[in-house]
Subunit: 413 residues, 2 copies
C-alpha cells in the first residue's frame, strides 16, 4: 500500500466518525486548536526558523521568505482566525429544500460535507491552519499538501491541530499532512479519487494547470485573477481614477487586483492625464499610442501583457472604441474572476454585467471587494474561477454538498 | 486548427449571442424543434435505418438494436419531450441571493448558464434531442458526441434542430454534433477546456471512467448505480418484500434499480421465504449460506458480485449482523446513488440516513423514485453520483451556475 493509500484509508475512517459529530464538539476542537497555537508559539517559531534557514540556502527571494515567516503576531493572527471560524454558523444538516410528493413520500434536501478534501498549496504556512479550520467546521476531512519549503512549519502546525482533535475526542486523522513532498507523491494524490472527493489547488497558474491536467479527482480551481477595469465613455472620471488606482495599487499581489485598464477613446485624454498625475511613476505602464501621449509609459503593451497576471505595480493600458470591444477583450483574456465598468449609463452597466463572463461583475466599484469576508461569508477558502460547484468567494457553504432524504411507508413505483 | 477547435470556436461565438437571448425566443426555437421532428419523421426513420443496417452487420445485440431504433411513436415521444421542456420555468437570471453591504454596495447573486456543455453518450438517439432541449432552455451551448452506431440518426436529428434554431433567429451552433466519432477526436474533446466548461458522460461505468481519467474539463459523472435495500431487524416484512421486488424488477436495466439486498439475520428466514415465494425463479439469486437455506440460489455471492451493477434480473443477497454492517457494506460497494432501509425503528432510520453516503437515502420506499420527474424537477439530464456541483437528479437548475453583480457609486477598499 502506497503512502497516499495510507493517508486516504485513514481519512475515510475519520470521515465515517465525523459524520456523526455535532457542532459543539467541532467547536470544542477548534477552541483547543486556537489555544494550543498560542501555547506553542515557541516551538512553532523554532520549526519555522528551520524552513527559513533552508529557504535562504536555496536562494529564496526576500518577498517569498516574508510570506513563509511566522512571527508571534502572525501566530496570534492564525489563532484569532480559528476563533472566527468557531463563531460562524455550522452549515451542516441545514434543510435547504424539500416537500411531500403527491404519493406521500417526504423529501428533504439537506446540506452535508463534501467528504475528504485535498488541498495543494504553496509556501504560506498560515494556509495550513486556515484551511484545516474551515474543513473541520464544515465536517470535512482534509489532506493538506503544502510546499516542501514550509515542511517543518507545516509538520509542527498539523501536529498541534491533531493533538487538539484527539483531546476533543475527535479522530486526529480528520486533519492530515502529506509529509512526503516529492513530486511522485503529489502525482499519486491527484489520482486518489478512491479516497478524495474534491481537490483544491491554491496558488499560481502553473500549479492550477498542473492539477487540472493530472487530477482524476474533481477540482475547484481558485485564485487566478487577470482582472480589468473598463472606463466607459460615460464614466465619472474622478471615480474611474480612484477605482483604477485602488484596484491596481491597494494590494497588487492579490488575485482581485486588476492587470489591465481599458479606456473608451472619447475619455482617453481626460482619464489618462488624471491617472498619470495620480500615479506619478508609482506604477509601470505598458500602453498603446494614445495612452503614451498622456501617460509616462514604459513601453507598448503586447498581446502577452494582456494575458499576464503581473501581481505587481505594473499595468497594461488599452484604448478601446467602445463597450463591445471592452467586453470582447475581457472575455478573451480574463480569468473569469472580477471585472468592473465605470459608467453612469444604465444601458451600458446592464450590458456589461450581462455579457462579461466572470464570477463578480462590478459597476462603479473596485474589484478588490471580491472576498469572502467582504461578501459576508465570514471566511474564505479561496476564490473559485470555474463555473462548476462554486463561483467567486468560497466560504463554509461552498465546502458542502447535499443529499436527499426520502421517507415513506412502503411506496413503490 | 483541429476539428474540435472549429466546433469550440463556433460554440464560444454562439455563447456570446445566446447570453442576450430571453425566454420567449428560446421557447420559440424549442417549439420549432418539436414541430420539425414530427414533420421530418420519414427522413429520420430513413436515416435511422442506415444505422440499424450497419448495427446488424456489426452483430449488435437485439436489445441494443431496440435502443437504437426510432419509430413514429418514439419520434412523437421525443417531440413531446421537447414540448415539456418549453413548459418548464426558465432558470436563467433568477436572483438567488443578495444584499446591500454596509458600505452601500448592492450585491446580487443571479443564476446564469454554465456555458458550453459537452455531452458524451452511447447509442440512444433520443438522448440527442433530450439533452439539446435542456441545454437550450437553460441558455447553454451543447456539443454532443454520440456513439458511431447512431451517427446517421444523430446527424439527421441535429440537422433538424439547427434548422429550427436558424429559423428562430438563434445561432445554429448552439447545438453541435461531433460528426467525427473517432477515438482521437473524442480524446481532443476531453482536453478542450479552452472551449468547454463542463463535460457530462452519459453511459456505462467504462465510459465514465475513461472520461474521468482523460478529461481536463470539469466532469459531472452520472448514472452509475450499485444500489441496495437493507431489510432491518425491525422491518415490516411485507413492505420489505414489495420494496425489494419493485426496486429490483420493475425496470432492472436502469441505474436506480438495486443490485444487492442486505438482510438482518433475525428476519432472514421470514424475509427470504416470502421473497422466494414472490419471485418464484423470476430473479437469479447469488446468496450466502443462510439465504441458500430459504431461497433458490444459483450460486454463492462473491466480492465481485457486491461490486457489480447487474442491470438485469440478477441479485446478490447477503445476511448481515446488524445495521452497522449494512451501512459499512453500502459505503464500501455502493456508487453513492440510491440506498434504502426498511424499518419501523426511528433510531435506525435516522442512523441509516445520516451515515449512508449517497445522493438519495430512503426509508421504507423503493429506490426507483430517484428521478428528475419523480422529484418534481420536470426533466432530467442525468443522475449525478458525484458530490461536486450537483447530486442526484439533475434538472434545468443543475445546468446553471451563478455570478455576482455588484453595483456601487465609487466604492474602493
Amino acid at each position: 500500500m502506497g503512502y497516499i493509500d495510507e493517508l486516504g484509508t485513514a481519512a475515510k475512517k475519520a470521515e465515517s466518525i465525523m459524520t456523526g459529530i455535532g457542532t459543539d464538539k467541532k467547536n470544542d476542537a477548534l477552541r483547543r486548536i486556537a489555544e494550543k497555537l498560542i501555547g506553542s508559539k515557541d516551538i512553532i517559531i523554532k520549526e519555522n526558523k528551520r524552513d527559513i534557514e533552508n529557504a535562504k540556502i536555496n536562494g529564496m527571494s526576500d518577498a517569498m521568505i516574508d510570506r513563509l515567516t511566522l512571527t508571534e503576531a502572525r501566530i496570534e493572527g492564525m489563532s484569532e482566525g480559528v476563533r472566527q471560524v468557531i463563531a460562524l454558523k455550522d452549515p451542516i444538516n441545514e434543510i435547504i429544500g424539500g416537500e411531500e410528493l403527491p404519493n406521500g413520500l417526504k423529501v428533504e434536501k439537506i446540506r452535508v460535507p463534501l467528504g475528504v478534501i485535498g488541498i495543494i498549496f504553496e509556501s504560506r504556512p498560515n494556509v495550513t491552519v486556515d484551511a484545516a479550520a474551515l474543513c473541520l467546521k464544515s465536517g470535512n476531512i482534509c489532506i493538506l499538501r503544502g510546499g516542501s519549503d514550509a515542511i517543518y512549519s507545516n509538520k509542527c502546525l498539523v501536529g498541534i491541530m491533531r493533538d487538539a482533535l484527539s483531546e476533543a475526542g475527535l479522530p486526529e486523522d480528520a486533519v492530515q499532512l502529506v509529509a512526503d513532498t516529492s513530486r511522485a507523491v503529489a502525482g499519486d494524490m491527484m489520482k486518489a479519487d478512491k479516497y478524495i472527493d474534491v481537490l483544491i489547488p491554491r496558488g499560481g497558474g502553473g500549479l492550477i494547470r498542473s492539477v487540472r491536467q493530472n487530477s482524476t479527482i474533481p477540482v475547484i480551481q481558485t485564485g487566478e485573477g487577470n482582472c480589468h477595469v473598463y472606463v466607459d465613455r460615460f464614466a465619472d472620471i474622478e471615480k474611474a481614477v480612484n477605482i483604477t488606482d485602488n484596484a491596481k495599487t491597494q494590494r497588487p499581489s492579490v488575485c482581485n487586483a486588476i492587470e489591465t485598464v481599458l479606456v473608451h477613446k472619447d475619455v482617453a485624454e481626460q482619464f489618462y492625464t488624471a491617472l498619470n498625475k495620480k500615479w506619478n511613476g508609482k506604477v509601470r505602464i505598458y500602453g498603446d499610442e494614445i495612452c503614451a501621449k498622456y501617460m509616462d509609459t514604459e513601453r507598448a503593451a503586447t498581446e502577452e501583457d494582456y494575458a499576464t497576471e503581473f501581481n505587481d505595480y505594473v499595468i497594461a493600458v488599452k484604448t478601446v472604441s467602445g463597450i463591445d470591444e471592452a467586453i470582447e477583450h475581457i472575455n478573451r483574456y480574463g480569468t473569469k474572476h472580477s471585472e468592473c465598468i465605470v459608467t453612469i449609463n444604465l444601458d451600458n452597466a446592464l450590458k456589461f454585467q450581462k455579457h462579461v463572463d466572470a464570477a463578480a461583475v462590478y459597476v462603479n466599484a473596485s474589484t478588490r471587494f471580491t472576498d469572502g469576508f467582504e461578501f459576508g461569508l465570514g471566511a474564505e477558502i479561496g476564490i473559485s474561477t470555474q463555473k462548476l460547484h462554486a463561483r467567486g468567494p468560497m466560504g463554509l457553504k461552498e465546502l458542502t454538498t447535499y443529499k436527499y432524504l426520502i421517507t415513506g411507508n412502503g411506496q413503490i413505483r
